[in-house]
């Protein structure tokens, strides 16, 4: 089994936000919720870099550790998923998440937090694969269809890579060596306690 990861090559990302849009469209993500976003650091200066960020599917995920109802689980592909049937919308995963991945629809009185929504690595949820029940809660399950996450698949500059950690790290390493620079595998140190050594 693969160890699925995301890697955003900030030297290639052109901040087109197509990954954000594709994700919203693929999963019919509700208004106000963004499973993926593009953050531009040092915007407007010569050194600006844009990074597409979503749930990094951490090793030893903090969200799973702090969840009071234990609704998270890690798949055989090391994708961190959760059950919306169990989630109570307490917000603890948001406090613990280093990437701001968990999102909460505003429901009920006080606009309080509804059940958490986040990037599923296009791998659905605990329901049976590629069913309507799964789609309604978590969106498409592309992994079950043998496809990679839509955000990375349609990235026009191939800045955003998804796939087995070792393979995408090797692709990134080759790029950095060939072009002679790279601003790093953003988030890897925090998510996986390792980075791509060049």
């Amino acid at each position: 089994m693969a160890r699925m990861k995301f890697l955003c090559d900030a030297d290639r990302c052109i901040e087109c936000n197509a990954c954000v849009t594709a994700c919203k469209n693929e999963h019919e993500v509700p208004w106000g919720i963004n499973r993926r976003r593009v953050v531009t650091i040092n915007d407007g200066t010569p050194g600006e870099r844009s990074i597409s960020m979503a749930c990094m599917h951490c090793t030893d995920a903090p969200c799973a550790a702090v969840c009071p109802v234990d609704c998270f689980y890690t798949t055989a592909d090391a994708v961190v998923l959760h059950s919306k049937d169990l989630c109570i919308g307490c917000g603890y995963c948001f406090y613990a998440c280093p990437f701001g991945a968990p999102q909460y629809p505003r429901v009920g009185n006080f606009g309080s937090r509804g059940k958490m929504d986040k990037c599923t690595y296009c791998a659905g949820g605990p329901e049976a694969d590629v069913t309507m029940a799964e789609y309604e809660k978590y969106g498409a399950n592309r992994l079950a269809e043998g496809k990679l996450p839509i955000c990375a698949e349609m990235c026009s500059t191939k800045a955003l890579l998804a796939g087995d950690g070792e393979i995408i790290a090797e692709i990134y390493r080759e790029r950095v060596v060939t072009r002679g620079y790279g601003s790093g595998a953003w988030g890897w140190q925090t998510a996986y306690k390792e980075t791509v050594a060049i």
Binding site: A10, D11, E15, N17, V20, G32, N34, R37, V38, V39, T40, I41, N42, D43, T45, P46, G47, E48, R49, S50, I51, M53, P62, A65, V66, C67, P68, V69, D70, C71, D85, L86, C87, I88, G89, C90, G91, Y92, F94, Y95, A96, C97, P98, F99, G100, F110, S112, Y181, S183, G184, A185, W186, G187, Q189, T190, T195
Partner: protein, 348 residues
Amino acid sequence: MFRASLTSIARAGRVALAAIALLGLAAIAVPDETLAQGTNPTAQAVTEEQLLQALQPGGEIAGRVSIPDQKATGLIKPGGQDWRAFHQGTMFWVTIVALVGMLAIVVAFYAVRGKITIDSGLSGLKILRFNAFERFVHWLTAGSFLVLALTGINLVLGRFVLIPLFGPEAFATVTQLGKYAHNYLAWPFMAGLVFMLLVWIKDNIPDRTDVAWLKAGGGLLKKGVHPEAKKFNAGQKGIFWSVIVGGAALSVTGVLLLFPYLAGGYADWQLVQMIHGVVAAILVAVMVGHIYIGSVGMQGAFDAMGSGEVDYNWAREHHSLWAEEARRKQGAQGGASGGARPSPQPAE
């Protein structure tokens, strides 16, 4: 006709090719110039490593987003790991020590000291200690606190204690209801705090009798020792102020947790949540002691908040100064006896 159009396409193609060739030459010429000037397009680029190293505790790597949600500007917030460590370590153990530790102390106290009885026995004479409004305020606060405390403890310990017993589905359902209860009962709790402060603050100003009471250990440890006390002894004043101060801290932090964007950024939420949790645990420990001494721990104590009327001998032993005052007032109103009558207003 067909031939003519083909020729015109060919001619247009030649023109286009020439144009592309020219552009290509120009394009090749430009990088030569920049390289000659020595410009490196990545020299000033930010790297993740630099940014992580420059990060202050509680800081985040953030930038600009072009989606409408301007709260999504944070990229990496390593502080989440610290909150996780706090929640899994400190919060877990503080809750266990506060709850189990205090229960153990109470049980040990009961085993050693036993139930504190009225030394001079029941007099059969009742005097009013708390009127209906005071009792309402007490139970409004107490009832909501009990639910708030249990649902709060559930968030910290339930996963480890209750999921193995009841399974994840049943536990999640109950915890979901618990979350609603926690969010809604916070408001009556806060109302209770305000009423409590207004009704009882005048009787809870620390004074000299408290020093003597504390020196005598409140008479809790020795049978037959009864230091003087007014309406509230030093121990009760301690309970009152823990509830007011702790309750205020819980209210402020709780409201901020309900409306997180009032509190600021994610580091503020984490801090607010940590304060809320620790203060709650301390208050739970205080309340375990309070519930014990107000119920099984002391003969006659529950009546004060039950019927509102306490036995005169109980009052004389535990609140001597207040009992005198109350009896004097009742005497002035036509003698003490059981049953309903205008409530005496104990003064300092």
